[in-house]
């Protein structure tokens, strides 16, 4: 079977599970997403799923492959329904088999979480009152929805950003799977997940705030005296995507204030070093390093796709360029400067 595919007919989950059998595997973990009769306080009668199949199949296959590589499982697959579904129908099936159960559980969770927010599939709910709506699309269309988030009923909050991980995923972070402590022999070291519980506990953050951080993307220009502390806290806080632009290589004279780096790292590109540090602190951050100087020719390309630009540079040429870029692209820019 393919790693990821669509089905227009009901899923035979027993048959799918049989395909995961393997003599090297001691366990199977499966997940089924079902059509339920309520969502966001509305009574649901049926669902329709629509997909941009050409891209969805590619992205879905990438997710399954990522899970296999990341967790070292033996087999993994995902099948998603399209078309009209009735209550209790299976909308999505994920199956993973592995030598040991811990990897199987984690890979299964990874696949469903990533599928839900990366694969171009849309769900239209039909309600008891005859109404219908595309999930995640209708409410966020209203202009100004963001400003009223704090006072909106809780069920509206997760629409602040449609690419946010859902609450289930956040609860996973909140409670965290913790260190592996099974009796089985682990060929891979136990995988830890970031735990944002202390941050989510803050009234100003909460689960909706954490979801927004996970969905946010920030471009940090400069990975030196300012960039280092900025990147540490962005990564720690769980910002979903971080870009780092810095053309310099680490020098011994940097280290007294750029204390994230090590003496042995001198001579290496700071952007790469900083990206490694970010992922060491928080492996869930998607980080991209750009070992180049931001200039008028590359500025737009570098900033494309980011929500926020942080100017952590030490020179006015780049600061003026970033100011122009922010005005032109209407992206927010925060800057600071240190004077030596």
């Amino acid at each position: 079977m393919k790693a990821f595919e669509f089905s227009t007919t009901p899923l035979d989950t027993a048959a799918l599970q049989r395909e995961m059998r393997d003599v090297t595997c001691g366990g199977f973990a499966g997940f089924e997403g079902w059509v339920r009769n309520h969502n966001e306080g509305m009574a649901v009668t049926r669902l329709e799923y629509e997909a941009y199949a050409e891209l969805a199949e590619k992205e879905g296959a990438r997710i399954v492959q990522e899970a296999i590589e990341r967790y070292g499982v033996t087999r993994a697959a995902c099948v998603h329904r399209v078309g009209s579904l009735a209550l209790t129908d299976v909308a999505v099936w994920v199956g993973v088999s592995a030598a040991h159960r811990d990897e199987a559980f984690r890979a299964c969770r990874y696949i469903i979480d990533e599928v839900k927010h990366r694969v171009p599939i849309w769900k239209k709910e039909h309600y008891v009152n005859g109404d219908s709506g595309w999930v995640n699309c209708e409410r966020c269309a209203a202009p100004g929805a963001h400003e009223h988030e704090d006072t909106a009923p809780a069920r509206h909050r997760e629409y602040a950003n449609p690419y946010a991980h859902d609450d289930d995923h956040l609860h996973n972070h909140l409670h965290g799977p913790g260190p592996g402590h099974g009796h089985e022999h682990h060929e891979h070291p136990p995988l830890l997940s970031p735990d944002y519980s202390r941050q989510i506990a803050l009234r100003e953050v909460g689960l909706p705030g954490q979801a927004r951080l996970l969905a946010a993307s920030v471009l940090v220009v400069g990975a030196g005296g300012l960039g280092v502390p900025v990147l540490q806290y962005l990564a720690g806080a769980g910002v979903g995507r971080i870009g780092i632009v810095d053309a310099d290589r680490l020098e011994p004279s940097n280290l007294h204030r750029q204390t994230w780096y090590a003496l042995a790292d001198c001579g290496r590109e700071k952007s790469t070093l900083a990206a490694e540090r970010v992922n060491a602190l928080n492996p869930e951050v998607h980080v991209q390093a750009h070992a180049l100087r931001l200039d008028a020719n590359n500025a737009d390309r570098l900033a494309d796709g980011y929500d926020l630009i942080l100017d952590c540079t030490d020179n006015f040429t780049t600061k003026f360029l970033l100011n122009d870029l922010a005005l032109r692209t209407r992206k927010p820019l925060l800057f600071a400067i240190h004077i030596c």
Binding site: K58, E59, H80, P120, W122, W134
Partner: protein
């Protein structure tokens, strides 16, 4: 920039609001962002561009990526699989 021919496919809410699944059109839009702005004049789209992602030739693309004649563009509304 001379006009060029682009294929656009619509899904989900955008399909309903455009009243069609796909079309081939001639446009002076230089990139997908300009193309969405142009189409928003023609159709009653309610989703702001920053809620969408864009795919060009069946792969996720960048809004500022220059469009070429014959490109196939898909605007991706907020997804909701699972």
């Amino acid at each position: 920039m001379p006009d060029q021919t682009i294929r656009v496919q619509y899904y989900a809410l955008l399909r309903e609001q455009a009243g069609r699944s796909d079309e081939t059109l001639t446009t002076s839009a230089r990139d997908a962002r300009e193309l969405y702005a142009e189409l928003s004049q023609r159709y009653p789209f309610t989703l702001p561009v920053d809620m969408l992602r864009v795919a060009i030739n069946s792969e996720f693309g960048e809004w500022s990526q220059p469009l070429k004649a014959g490109d196939a563009v898909v605007f991706i509304p907020p997804v909701a699989g699972g």
